[in-house]
């Protein structure tokens, strides 16, 4: 029996009366890049948070590389190899950018993997380099622009050297040019390899995004959510043609 | 504008610094006595007033004869702030000794602060008369380690063991009066003691002694010493049908309790220790509800322990407008113990003075003071209690006046002589109590 890389079964989460995530189940492979789309309030972000353990599901389970991860603490999950970014960026505002990344470098997983790296700063620098903001390493995080904050989020996540990377709207608030750059970075990351002293496992990814045209270029599979349930699952080409997706996105009138 | 303010600020700071560092006391032609206490509270004010009166009296006579030279008394006031911050109290003590270079120290109130203060004074070998703290431990230290602690003397009040004994006598006296005049078969007593260390040993003692006196204990309540509402306790006490409430209060709860009990007309007499009720301000503080409260006290208007009492109390009232509290015994300490001792020894040498004072018997306005030895014959520098020595008085609030009511035909032991101080009056029973029981 081959166990899948990530397997989600019957995941459910209620907020008061609102059912944000309703009995979701899917699985993905180690080499996939998965796009997660859907209208606002469809439960995309909630799903990511359930996987990372920030929220506790009311029912269902999540298996990552054969291990159950529901009920584990966030840091445990991160150290098993799932990293995430936040939709509304959450940098440590009063710390220099490099220190932001160093926190990730100090996680047990990163420490174990980078034993041969003598200096944490060097590794953190490489993560920043990868994200393209190394020239501002000593600035306070509060001075960064939106786009650079997104990059910082990615750098922070990458520094834990994850197997699975959850990106929550990596293109949100970016200009088209910046989006291009970010898309290239993500692609490059997925290929894996070394970036200086930083090692990329070539992580599998789940990307939540609204900018479909860029998303389509990166992902090889898309899951569409609406009202907390999966309404479509397939390759980008299939999804574009799927009538239920069009209905959900554009409303019934246009369908 | 801003710069100007800043400059003033800096100037002020520099000024403060300068003043404080250069105000070091000068030459030695006077006897310096440090008065240390919580100067913004009644206790400290009493200590300072008593000392002021003593200094004025002695200086008016030209001072104290030390050898062949007359030396005047100079008082130095130190606010110990000890209720809020005992650390501050020790600093004040240290400052008195090293900066102001005092020769003697009187004062201290909160035992937690007095103990470290005692340590500092003993280390500097300065005679320290404690006026305010009643805890036994302060004097037990003298017995245990005489050479270090011999410079400590108890000034006032006598120690808490004796305080308990006196208040039991009061309880018995009032119990007998109630029994007789209200025709009660058995007197029931509710014990209400504030939660404080000094009150702790009094409760088992009271529970043991009261049945022996032919009375019954119906319950024990321990409100916080700063409780601001005791209606709950009062309701419970009324339910227990107690005739006497045996109070053990030193802090503000004494006022709250008396006021609320009076306002609710709880049919029971309050007897015991209520330090707040010893003060003239009690009547106002309880909004006249503290009527008929009975408490132990050191002085009372028109009651004379001996011939020294009346002049002292009258002068004090004239000078400061209130009856002296027990912390005002700084007067007795300076005038009747320290000054005669210095004159007789003829020097300010602490060791010589200690040797003299511990064997001296002196008369003061609150009675005759003699210093005790413990069972093993060690000096404790604690004061002797009993007929002929310090007894304190019992006082009762009667319609706005604090009236002395005890000792009235009191016999300490069956063989002892009967004692009645001049000026005592009979005890009054609250009318609502008479109304309830006399049917």
């Amino acid at each position: 029996m081959t166990q899948s890389f990530l397997e989600i079964k019957g995941l459910t989460k209620n907020f008061g009366g609102l059912r944000a995530v309703n009995n979701i189940g899917f699985s993905m492979e180690r080499n996939q890049v998965l796009g997660l789309i859907g209208p606002n309030g469809a439960g995309k972000t909630t799903l990511l948070r359930l996987i990372t353990g920030i929220l506790k599901p009311d029912a269902g389970n999540v298996r990552f590389m054969g291990k159950e991860i529901v009920g584990r603490k966030t840091w445990d999950i991160v150290n098993m190899g799932i990293a995430c970014t936040f939709q509304n960026m959450r940098p440590f505002r009063r710390l220099p950018i490099i220190a932001n990344v160093m926190v990730s470098c100090l996680s047990p997983r990163a420490m174990k993997r980078g034993e041969w790296v003598k200096r944490l700063e060097a590794k953190a620098m490489d993560a920043l380099e990868f994200a393209g903001i190394s020239d501002m390493a000593r600035e306070k995080a509060s001075t960064l622009s939106q786009g650079d904050l997104k990059r910082l989020e990615v750098a922070r996540a990458v520094a834990t050297e994850p197997e699975l990377l959850l990106l929550d709207e990596p293109f949100g608030g970016l200009s088209p040019a910046e989006t291009d750059l970010m898309a290239i970075s993500i692609r490059r990351l997925h290929k894996g390899g070394r970036f200086g002293r930083l090692h990329s496992e070539g992580p599998a990814m789940i990307i939540v995004e609204h900018k479909l045209q860029w998303l389509m270029k990166i992902v090889d599979r898309i899951i569409v959510l609406n009202f907390g349930t999966i309404i479509a699952d397939g390759t980008p080409d299939e999804i574009i043609k799927n009538p239920r997706v069009i209905e959900a996105y554009l409303g019934q009138g246009d369908a | 504008m801003e710069r100007w303010e800043k400059r003033i600020f800096i100037l002020a700071m520099v000024f403060l610094f300068a003043v404080s560092t250069f105000t070091v006391a000068s030459g030695q032609d006077t006897i310096k006595i440090g008065v240390i206490g919580p100067m913004q509270f009644v206790q400290g004010i009493g200590q300072w007033n008593g000392a002021t009166m003593a200094a004025e009296e002695i200086n008016a006579k030209g001072g104290i004869q030390v050898g062949n030279k007359k030396m005047k008394i100079q008082l130095i006031k130190a606010d110990s702030n000890e209720f809020i911050n005992p650390t501050d109290a020790t600093n004040a003590m240290e400052r008195l000794i090293t900066r102001d270079k005092v020769d003697f120290i009187v004062g201290g109130f909160r035992t937690e602060a007095v103990m470290p203060m005692q340590d500092i004074a003993m280390e500097a070998k300065k005679i320290f008369f404690g006026v305010g703290a009643a805890h036994d431990e302060l004097c037990l230290r003298v017995a245990k380690n005489y050479n270090t602690y011999k410079y400590w003397f108890r000034g006032s009040p006598f120690n808490s063991t004796f305080l308990v004994r006196t208040s039991f006598v009061h309880l018995g006296t009032v119990g007998a009066i109630l029994k007789q005049s209200l025709n009660l078969p058995k007197i029931k007593v509710a014990i209400v003691a504030e939660k404080a260390m000094w009150a702790d040993p009094m409760i088992p003692a009271a529970e043991a002694v009261i049945p022996k006196m032919g009375m019954e204990v119906v319950g024990v309540w321990r409100p916080s010493d700063k409780a601001t509402d005791v209606t709950a306790e009062l309701s419970a006490i009324q339910r227990s049908e107690a005739h006497i409430i045996f109070t053990i209060f030193s802090a503000s709860v004494g006022i709250t309790f008396a006021r609320q009990a009076g306002e609710l007309k709880i049919p029971a007499m309050q007897v015991g220790i209520n330090v707040e009720a010893q003060k003239d301000g009690f009547w106002e503080a309880t909004q006249k509800m503290g009527n008929y409260v009975f408490t132990m006290n050191t002085y009372a208007r028109n009651v004379e322990q001996n011939e020294l009492t009346k002049p002292f109390v009258d002068t004090y009232i004239k000078r400061f407008g209130e009856t002296p509290a027990y912390t005002a015994d700084t007067y007795a300490v300076i005038v009747h113990r320290l000054a005669p001792a210095i004159e007789k020894v003829g020097s300010l040498d602490a060791d010589k003075l200690v040797a003299f004072i511990e064997n001296d018997v002196s008369k003061g306005p609150s009675g005759t003071v003699a210093y005790l030895k413990d069972a093993e014959g060690r000096h404790t520098h604690d004061q002797k209690w009993g007929p002929g020595y310090l007894t304190s008085v019992g006082v009762q609030w009667q319609d706005g006046k604090l009236v002395g009511v005890w000792p009235n035909k009191w016999k300490a032991t069956p063989e002892a002589p009967e004692i009645t101080y001049k000026g005592v009056m009979p005890v009054k029973i609250p009318p609502w109590m008479i109304e309830k029981y006399k049917k």
């Binding site: - | 913004q40 004010i45 024990v220 309540w221 321990r222 601001t228 306790e233």
Partner: protein
């Protein structure tokens, strides 16, 4: 039976006092995120104000109450303008500014009135008995004032423009600012209301107790326990929390008379126990996700 009644009455009364204090504290915290340590110090100042008017000027207690509420509210607003508003952005600084204010008030009172225990006359003297339990009229008054204040506050918050402004500011300061609400003015007015409530509490409660310059510390702690228990910034929570702690205290006094002094500790332990189960207090906003 009358034990139960006793407990109920005592609990209601001490709960009312806590509720009055806690609501004011909660209000200013909700609107301006100010942890006003000096809140009960204002209560103390009000009590001394009544003392001054009745004893030094010899007026009727009612004038004392009025003067206390008006003057202390003004004092609160002035202190806010002078010492708190300029450093609003620095949370820590605001905190110790209020501690320093409380200390300053305490010292001023010590200077003016010394540390002597004082008292003020009650507005209505005497007591009445319900089923053998004696209750002061003043306690009844306290209870009524709590109900009135609650009703008044509810009307103010729900039915008036100022109330709307206060509520929206409490929800989100920045957004309220953008919506054209003068946040600074709302904060100042709320401070006025909050301090006014503290003064009112002083005016109705103090006639039953003793005045001294350190009388603000104990209610401060109980008030904070109430506010935390009920959930910060939630008026409903403060109201309920106050009665829970009030009853806890009454139970301790009646059922464990030897341990009456422990009533404060017991109340605080209850608060901690509740927080262990619900970290955001009874009616606080849940943090489950993030804040």
């Amino acid at each position: 039976m009358d034990l139960v009644l006793n407990i109920i009455i005592s609990g209601l009364i001490s709960g009312s006092v806590f509720a009055l204090l806690a609501i004011g504290f909660s209000l200013i915290f909700g609107v301006a995120r100010i942890v006003n340590i000096a809140h009960t110090a204002f209560y103390m100042v009000a009590a001394y104000c009544i003392y001054f008017v009745t004893h030094k000027m010899g007026s009727h207690p009612i004038w004392g109450m009025v003067a206390a509420i008006v003057l202390v509210t003004l004092l609160g607003i002035i202190c806010y303008k002078l010492f708190i508003n300029p450093i609003r952005e620095h949370e820590g600084a605001v905190l110790i500014a209020t501690i320093a204010l409380a200390m300053a008030f305490q010292e001023i009172m010590v200077l003016k009135f010394t540390g002597t225990f004082l008292s003020v006359p009650s507005l209505v003297k005497g007591y009445f008995a319900i089923l053998g339990v004696k209750v002061f009229y003043q306690q009844l008054l306290t209870f009524c004032v709590v109900l009135l204040v609650m009703a008044g506050l509810w009307i103010l918050l729900m039915k008036t423009k100022l109330g709307l402004a206060i509520r929206s500011t409490a929800q989100d300061r920045e957004v309220a600012n953008l919506m054209g609400i003068n946040e600074a003015r709302v904060a100042m007015l709320t401070m006025g209301i909050s301090v006014g409530l503290a003064a009112l509490t002083g005016a109705v409660v103090v006639p039953l107790t003793v005045l001294e310059p350190h009388m603000w510390l104990h209610p401060l702690i109980m008030m904070m326990a109430v506010v935390v228990l009920g959930g910060l910034g939630s008026l409903k929570g403060s109201f309920l929390g106050a009665y829970i702690l009030g009853f806890a205290e009454a139970l301790v006094v009646f059922l464990a008379p030897m341990g009456a002094f422990l009533k404060g500790s017991v109340a605080l332990s209850i608060m901690i126990l509740v927080l262990l189960i619900r970290p955001e207090g009874l009616f606080g906003v849940s943090f489950e996700e993030e804040r």
